[in-house]
Symmetry: C2
Subunit: 188 residues, 2 copies
């Protein structure tokens, strides 16, 4: 029996990604987002939604660029810190003891210690309400060699990314494999 | 040492959600998506990206409505089937032995057996490229009583949703809790 929960932002799972930007003075900033996702295969695009009030918002608008750094479980605390503090008040990379690396493709920094990063050029901005949705074209993905599989692709089991649960506002690891897509459903 | 992977749609994790629509004849249809995410807190909105070639695309455009049904691990096979077959050729609900339930709020069906569903009214369409991004306002969320926590909110550990990994094109369960958001980062 289903119960009405109301009009809320509850959906499972959502990602836990860190958006990297430079501010007006070229200071690197980082902000954790869960309102985000891949949104197009060709050109390869990803969207992130930010409130105008965030310090990162101006960085994206100004530079028309951002990165997404995908944390491993090992960096759950630092990732949460990036979602609590504001780059307006402090140097978040310095406070988290993490390294801002300047992308060679877009004017935005990424988190050097995180295993996978996406370098994005701003393609579209859509005003949705409290949040503005930024669509970025993925210009390149860079990944640590240690998380690549035998075909040279990033392997989720080696990355050990973080999922976010909006209900209890908690982070989760990735669990066991449930099977191959475009395959296990053929038995239906 | 980071290696360039190229401009690809690789990000981790992505969701595994089933979009429900009616076709021009009122036949219920369902399609699995991973290019999707929450995109605004107020109004509460979610976005899903579909190729124009899909049968569901016309259903959303026609009815300006869709649902998102969130599967539990137990329905990984049926969910994968929804991503393989086309509603143009068959009645996917019937083939998967799942029940289309008509939303009372929007003209779209959801999967009766799945633990959590979002009922969405189309707010925006954005042409990104191969995919069109549809932004839907979440009018209500309905959840099985069996997946609610003591506060009446859907509990990710009871839902046991499915994450998708674009790299190896595989489904994964949700793993162990890594801690509370807006909390564990304070120790940084």
């Amino acid at each position: 029996m289903k119960q009405s929960i109301g009009a809320k932002t509850l959906a499972f799972p959502t990602p836990t990604w860190v958006v990297g930007t430079y501010d007006m003075n070229g200071k690197p900033n980082a902000m954790t987002v869960a309102w985000a996702g891949i949104c197009c295969s060709n050109p390869p695009c990803v969207s992130v939604s930010l409130r105008k009030a965030t310090y990162s918002y101006a960085g994206i608008v100004e530079n028309k660029a951002f990165t997404i750094s995908i944390p491993s479980e090992d960096y759950a605390k630092e990732t949460d810190y990036f979602g609590i503090a504001s780059g307006r008040d402090e140097d978040k990379f310095e406070a988290a003891c993490l390294t801002p690396v300047r992308s060679e493709l877009v004017f935005a920094p990424y988190v050097g210690e995180f295993p996978v990063v996406l370098e994005c050029k701003l393609l579209h901005s859509l005003e949705v309400g409290l949040h503005t949705m930024f669509v970025g074209e993925i210009m390149d993905i860079k990944a640590e060699e240690s998380v690549l599989d035998e075909n040279g692709n990033p392997d989720i089991e080696k990355i050990r990314p973080v999922a976010y649960s909006p209900g209890n506002r908690s982070y989760y690891g990735i669990g066991k494999s449930l099977g191959k897509a475009f395959s296990i459903g053929k038995e239906c």
